[in-house]
Point group: C2
Chain length 139, copies 2
DNA sequence: GTCCTTGCAAAGCTTTTGCATCGCT
DNA sequence: AGCGATGCAAAAGCTTTGCAAGGAC
């Protein structure tokens, strides 16, 4: 029984082939810039691997994964939503406006500040999304 | 000749009735929390004011306004995009995950911190988008 | 065997586009 | 008058849903 198998069970989901395959695609790259998949990205990837999985299933499964906290859904500026597998460690994104390169970073002070800002307004911070648009400093 | 009229001309857009009316709706509330309109919000508002303006026109006009830097388009987590009139002053957004209510805030320390984070990586901050997802604290 | 899951197709929603008409300058 | 702007309806995305068949436990 694989690790993914267990993770699915833990989320109350049956370990079906579509779900396992989708999970594999989401986890398939170590390259940060490529770690964001739209439903169709996953669909095409599976088709090209001769896995016969319907697009509707992918949408349903991604929704379940998101509810289970296994993936995060981003909207960015495009029309399509993209999904990213959740790692243990929280991070934010920095995008180079010239090259499109996506970098990740984590700053504890920033996290703390966000909690404080929410608290000051009478709210608790559930989550946040932040993207810094940056440009390389000429040297 | 109204102020809006001039602003439209400056953007290279003819001062037509639909554009003026849409601008008026966007500028119609002093309440920051309610300053986000979807295309349909604007459409309904105009219809209820007996202005006969097509939804397609609203989409076209909003796209033009965005290109001219007069409004900012946000996606938040919903399916609909919302538009906000650009004020001189920068602010970020906080969304109540239970009610969908959007609030605005500005925190100088946060802004400074973002610049520092970018700088530390050898970049200058061009822009940023940040949304805090929050929940009301039970009292 | 039971109940959850899947695939397909159809429907739903938001947004965009083609085209003839209209209106600002 | 000229050319951009509008309205309507149709089309185009992306995503969700109904339903019958299939699969996990």
């Amino acid at each position: 029984m694989s690790k993914q198998n267990e993770e699915l069970k833990k989320a109350g989901l049956k370990a079906t082939l579509p779900r396992i395959k989708i999970m594999e695609v989401l986890a398939s790259t170590a390259i940060q810039e490529e770690a964001h998949f739209s439903a169709e990205d996953i669909y095409k990837e599976l088709i090209s691997n001769d896995e016969d999985i319907g697009l509707a299933t992918i949408y349903r499964v991604l929704t379940q994964f998101e509810a289970a906290g296994m993936v995060t859904k981003h909207h960015f500026e495009n029309s399509k939503a993209v999904y990213e597998i959740n790692s243990d460690e929280h991070h934010d994104h920095m995008v180079d406006v010239d090259t499109g390169k996506v970098m990740e970073f984590h700053d504890e002070e920033l996290e703390k500040l966000q909690h404080e800002i929410a608290k000051k307004k009478g709210y608790e911070l559930v989550d946040h999304s932040m993207i810094l648009h940056v440009r390389k400093i000429e040297s």
